[in-house]
């Protein structure tokens, strides 16, 4: 059964290539079957392989062929299956299949139906390669592959230049991180002599001591890559803009899978990070600050998808926090639950947008509770899990992270407190969203209801969001991968606070946005309030900053240099020659006597030279 492993990425790849080669000539029905079906097949295969893996319990390593081999540099096209990979694969194929299914209805009216599924299948392929790669170079292939698919899908509606801009921004900003990661790979290969993850970890453990400079450097470079892909500070600015793509794309790529690739990368190379405590701390701090920044930004946004985008950034910040404090399992656990509930939220948001004439502004919605009941319940459950209300999946994972953060010596309580603040903000903005969109006065009538291909994925994701954390099912395969966390439990008070915070947030949101008992208009309209709102609304003005810091200078440089300044050198040589020509042409008088005279002069000089007179 384990031998079936290469089939899992192969199905979507074949489907994608078929769809590309036929360039839209295929009937839509067939496209839908091929597009969603291939991912479904992958999901089933993943299940079979997963069961076989659980039985054997041993990591499975399968080499397809040698990619390239030059001396010691010999990355293979090879897959490595262990608990972590299995968890990721399950999320990708499982959630991926549901989103594909949802898309078959959501994109029905689009002219480029087959192009959409070609890209989406290609994405699933690349993402699977990313998580299944046994070496960092193949991982990098998947890593860039998902980046390209993200680019293509964000710019899917390319007719609008804004979408193209957003797509380009997404690719270029992540490319900055990718380049840092590539440098990390160079460093790792140069120092350790291999890019295969398992031998590399072994080599690192034998060559490096905890706290050496090189592992810190390597880990920081890898963190650069992770930060770019996972939209963490300082490379997070692309994600909110990436919402320009179709909403199921946002659900799949920009919520459930691709953006968590950074988390996966750090978890995958956790043995390196364990050798570099400063890098670990950096991971935790990046995560914490990002989660607070994004949560505060999400509080003031109007666009339903941007709110979700910032909440994604914020939640991935939590995962980074988890990784940074060494709570590997908790981080991946949160990744999984987040994939469930955020995919659910995005799909539900997509359904709302789909049914409301592509309206994005939440303040133009309202009262949809009765109009779109399925969507309402989905959204409510998703928000509850996002806010980590007790007994939802998000609660378990977030709780785990916060408690383990508290355990960390020195910085622990601070990180914990920061995390709690983030949790409070999360609860407030998620229920702000629910209350504003689904309660209150009806402002727009939906013109259609979600069909079965939309409703089924929504309900399935609802179930997963609710009970996904209950049994801690995803945790089982991870036990063999990560070092075991300590059994020590913090006091009940700490746990109690963790539980209470989301409820407080819910209450605040209720009083502000639903009952109106808490009026914050005065606070918001005051001068500092306005400034803060503006600052938060612009995402802490990071876009503005980068525009001034990088984009404009670079474009200006390109504009200044475009005329090829180097040519000035050559043109001046030409000028000198031309001037010489003009000057010398004056000596060509056409007069015989002048020529004779100058010749005589030359003879005299030469003779004088020969005689040694001069």
């Amino acid at each position: 059964m384990l031998k079936l492993l290469p089939l899992i990425p192969l199905f979507p790849l074949i489907s994608s290539v078929l769809l590309m080669v036929t360039v839209g000539k295929m009937p839509k029905r067939l496209v839908a079957i091929l597009g969603a079906g291939s991912v479904g097949l992958s999901a089933v295969t993943t299940l079979l392989v997963g069961l076989a893996f659980m039985e054997s319990g041993q990591p499975h390593h399968q080499v397809l062929w040698t990619w390239m081999q030059v001396g010691a540099f010999s990355p293979d096209i090879a897959f490595y299956l262990d608990g972590l990979t299995l968890v990721m694969m399950s999320v990708i194929t499982g959630v991926g299949f549901l989103i594909h299914l949802f898309s078959t209805e959501f994109m029905e009216e689009d002219a480029s139906y087959s192009r959409y599924f070609a890209y989406l299948n290609m994405f699933v392929f690349a993402m699977l390669v990313l998580v299944m790669a046994d070496n960092l170079l193949l991982l990098y292939l998947g890593w860039e592959g998902v980046g390209v698919c993200s680019y293509l899908l964000v710019g899917f509606w390319y007719q609008n230049p804004d979408n193209g801009l957003a797509a380009r921004k997404a690719f270029v900003v992540t490319r900055v991180g990718d380049t840092a990661m590539a440098l990390g790979l160079f460093l790792l290969f140069t120092e350790l002599g291999t890019l295969d993850i398992q031998p590399m970890a072994a080599a690192a453990n034998s060559q490096w001591q905890v706290g050496d400079t090189l592992p810190v450097l390597a880990c920081l470079l890898l963190l650069g890559g992770a930060v770019g892909k996972s939209a963490q500070l300082p490379l997070h600015t692309w994600l909110p803009d990436a919402m320009a793509g179709p909403t199921p794309v946002s659900a799949l790529i920009h919520a459930a899978t691709m953006v968590t690739a950074g988390v996966y990368l750090i978890a995958r190379t956790h043995e390196l990070f364990l050798l570099a405590p400063p890098a670990m701390l950096a991971v935790a701090l990046v995560g914490l600050i990002t989660s607070l920044m994004a949560a505060s930004t999400a509080l003031v946004q109007h666009d339903i998808k941007r709110i979700l985008a910032y909440s994604t950034i914020s939640q991935i910040g939590y995962m980074f926090l988890a990784l940074g404090v060494g709570a590997w399992t908790a981080g991946i656990f949160h990744l999984v639950t987040h994939a469930f509930f955020k995919a659910l939220l995005f799909l539900a948001a997509g359904a709302v947008i789909h049914c409301l004439h592509h309206e994005h502004n939440i303040f133009k919605m309202g009262g949809l509770r009765t109009r779109l009941p399925v969507v309402f319940w989905s959204f409510l459950i998703g928000s509850a899990a996002l806010a980590a209300l007790p007994l939802t999946s998000g609660f378990f994972s977030k709780d785990m992270i916060l408690l383990q953060a508290y355990e960390l010596p020195t910085f622990g309580p601070w990180l914990w407190a920061g995390g709690l603040l983030g949790a409070l903000l999360t609860a407030i903005y998620s229920f702000r969203l629910v209350f504003v969109v689904f309660f209150g006065k009806t402002q727009m009538e939906p013109d259609k209801q979600p069909g079965s291909r939309m409703a089924v994925p929504l309900s399935l994701l609802c179930v997963l969001s609710l009970v996904g954390g209950f049994f801690a099912l995803p945790l089982v395969p991870l036990e063999s991968v990560f070092p075991v966390a300590s059994d020590h439990h913090p006091s009940h008070l700490i746990e109690g606070i963790s539980i209470a915070i989301p409820l407080i947030g819910l209450a605040i949101a209720y009083f502000i946005y639903l009952s109106g008992q808490l009026n914050i208009d005065g606070l918001v309209n005051s001068a500092p309030g306005q400034m803060l709102k503006k600052f938060w609304f612009s995402g802490w003005a990071m876009d503005w900053l980068y525009d001034r810091l990088w984009v404009r200078p670079y474009k200006g440089l390109a504009y200044i240099l475009r005329g090829e300044w180097v040519d000035v050198i050559y043109n001046s040589i030409v000028k000198v020659c031309q001037q010489l020509f003009v000057g010398l042409s004056h000596t060509q008088t056409g007069r015989l006597r002048w020529y004779a005279t100058s010749m005589v002069f030359g003879v005299i000089v030469v003779l004088a030279l020969l005689l040694g007179v001069i």
Binding site: M20, V23, G24, W65, T66, W67, M68, Q69, V70, G71, F73, I77, L137, Y140, L141, W143, E144, G145, V148, Y151, L152, G155, Y158, Q159, N160, P161, G164, L165, A167, R168, F171, V172, R175, V176, D178, T179, A182, L183, L185, F186, L187, F189, T190, Y554, K555, L557, A558, Y559, L561, R562, E564, V566, D567, I569, Y570
Partner: protein, 510 residues
Amino acid sequence: MVLVNLILILLVGGVIAWLAERQHPLLPRWIALITILFDLGYFLTYMSDLSWSQIAVVPNPTDAATWLFHYKAEWIPRFGISFELAMDGLSLLMVLLTLVLGAVSVSASWTDIKQRTGFFEANLLWTLAGVLGVFLALDLFLFFLFWEVMLVPMYLMIAIWGHEGRSYASMKFFIFTQVSGLMMLLAILALVMLNHSNTGVYSFSYFDLLYHQVGGDIAFYLMLGFFVAFLVKLPGFPVHTWLPDAHTQAPTAGSVILAGILLKTGAYGLIRFVVPLFPNEALAFSPVAMALGVAGIIYGAVLALGQDDFKRLVAYSSVSHMGFVLLGVFAWNALALQGAVMQMIAHGFSTAALFMIAGSLQERMHTRDMSKMGGLWQNMPRLGAVAMFFALASLGLPGLGNFVAEFMVLVGLFAVAPWVAAAASLGLIVAAIYSLMMMQRAFQGEPDEGRRLPDYGVREMLTMAVMIVGLIWLGLYPQPVLDTAQPVLDSLMQMVDSVTEPTQIAGLMP
């Protein structure tokens, strides 16, 4: 004789194509295509006689008998000039690239050239013959001869069939290459003279001059003579300025040959001649060369972003990409060298394809100005998809040939000069910026509804398919290419290592 015939077939084919124009103006393109394919087939039949074990033999660079093919005939014995051609793994790859891209360029000129088709195809074939000669010649005099032979028809192609600014561009191209060629000629002559004064024998043979230890300042200047000639051809910063003009003004087939093949002669020369002939000097010079490489990568990328002209943009991207070759050669370790060779081939495919796309756009829209394009994907989805593929290849997407090349160059370079590698990595970011900008400006955005443009047909898609398959193959299974070049590069490195102090480049280590 195989090697001689390879060149002769093209030369004769050119003459026939020229004469055939009198019969029918469309005949020459068929003759050109058949000639190249016949040449390719002829070569492949001889290739198939070779086994992998023969290719895998590490050739002794000083002994021609260990090479795959070798041909030598006396030419001007008094000065030690002979007609000496030889092929090892490296030249084999280059010959294959030349012939494949030659066929592609004929396809690119299929409908593009309407006047004096016979003379055009003749020039095309003669250029290819000159390039093959450059890749095969091992007598320095013969090498120089072919070096010039490939220039003149190329000059004519730009000057006669070029676009609006063709006379300026062709003159600039000619002067740049000619001046640098002169420097190389002087260096060759000086090298032969020095060899004569040491050994008393005149010889232009590569094998005789190889181990020649000139030493001292003079060797440095001789190395510089060769280096400048190849740097101009590469083209490296700051002697690249002929390239954007020449590329922009050349007819499509000319751009394909220029970008795909002619630039590679510079890279080939660096690997084959500069370092093996002057190992100590070249390695001492490597910091400067690397700096030029990095400068080229960044400068080319920045300027590519600033262009409105589709072809100019691609031309500057060539400058950027060939910087990696320069880095790879002067990092001088197995990985970086392999990366440089890979880059030569992968860049040949990707850039040739981009120039073909530019040519197709010009043929259809009669402009290269991207500000007048936009939304072309809507009009020509196949062309758009192909362009997207090659734009992604050009920005170094893993899984395609360019990535393998750039990654290997950078990994190899990192071991030698980490900071240089870090600076060169910026090229990965900026490449993404200009490539995607190009896609957006030309193919995305609001389509012009009134525009009716024919999409790619079977001929064009077939041509593109060759290059797409080639790039994917290079990206996912480059091993045959690596294995072919490996023994050659190994032997060159051994030889260079045996005569250089290992501490030469220690100054670059951290």
